[in-house]
Amino acid sequence: MDLEAAVRKHSEMLYRICIVILGSEQDTQDAIQETFCKYLEKKPKFVDSEHEKAWLIKVATNHCRDIQRFRFRHPKVPIEELAGTLVSRQEDREAVRELLQMPPKQRAVMVLHYVEGYQIKEIAGILGITEHAVKKRLQRGREQFRTTWKEEYCR
């Protein structure tokens, strides 16, 4: 397995997912590192690069879940501050802030669907949850965004 190539190819994508789930730069880096440790340990055989990507997301989100459940190792950064660190444009900051205010499970589904372009069935497979649960989380996320956009930008 070529660790360096895999990190170069996938770590930005994993970073986007983990940072919105964990809200901490250091915990995000830990989650990504553990993901790639597992990648080296398991040496999984992939059908194609999409398969590899989905495997990495699955492992990374599992690590995020473990970190959330058992060991937040680093202090979480306030949402406003984190949004400001991640993006500079005001409108982007609002979108990121809105995302970060959602429950973590909802954030993961939103990012996988709207940012990484996965369909409901695929997300269910990656996260190990039912399609119904994915739909519900997307629905709640959409409602939250719709409310915000209506208030902030549609006046």
Partner: protein, 215 residues
């Protein structure tokens, strides 16, 4: 969510990037964790990977070619480089092997007195391809016994006692980058001549053949 809002979220998140150097830190930390047993479970496969990574980590901070060594094949994938390595005198191979053994006991990875610049990184990558195609340095990397001898800030040297590359303050020349690549190939080669390493590789092959395909 309307199309505009989905697009807005996508646009915003695509602006999110890792901080500079995080990729390098991740690569280095993963290799270190695999090598020093920080990431450890009680499986034979993990032990095998850790053993291989322990060899791997020497020089891996900057030399991506080491990634190939983690598993099951030689880190030296170029026939031209391999032919060159086979011309290295046996005494030199033994000396390098002893040095690597010392490095393994003492360090997790090479040290550098400064980071490569982006320009050097990119040139090194290009030169690595040329190196594998037969463009070799005219000279060899200067090795010094201890860091105290690395006093000339204009000279590239490697200090054996600290496992540290002292890069000159100015930009590295192509010749110097080739010397670093060559030095790392020699370390790979020296390691691979060791019977223990050959045994590990054999076991890794057998382990890989038994591993499950991801479902």
């Amino acid at each position: 969510m309307s199309e505009m809002n989905g697009g807005q979220l996508r646009h915003a998140m695509k602006q999110v990037h890792m901080k500079e150097n995080m990729q390098e830190e991740i690569i280095m930390n993963v290799r270190t964790q695999m090598a020093d047993g920080t990431y450890r479970r009680n499986s034979f496969k993990r032990n095998m990977v850790s053993a291989a990574a322990c060899l791997l980590v020497i020089g891996t901070v900057s030399i991506p070619a080491y990634a190939g060594y983690l598993g099951l094949r030689s880190a030296i994938t170029s026939d031209k480089v391999m032919a060159r390595m086979q011309e290295v005198p046996e005494a030199e191979v033994q000396d390098i092997y002893n040095m690597v053994q010392y490095e393994q006991r003492s360090f997790h990875a090479d040290q550098f007195n400064r980071e490569y610049t982006k320009e050097e990184e990119s040139r090194k990558e290009a030169l690595r391809k040329e190196y594998e195609n037969g463009r070799f340095p005219e000279g060899t990397l200067t090795l010094v016994e201890n860091a105290g001898q690395a006093v000339d800030s204009d000279q590239l040297v490697y200090a054996r006692d600290t496992g540290c590359f002292y890069l000159p303050e100015r930009a590295l020349t192509d010749e110097e980058l080739l010397q670093i690549l060559d030095f790392n190939s020699k370390r790979d080669f020296a390691l691979e001549q060791n019977p223990d390493v050959q045994q590990q590789r054999q076991e890794a092959w057998e382990e890989a053949n038994d591993s499950d395909t991801l479902r």
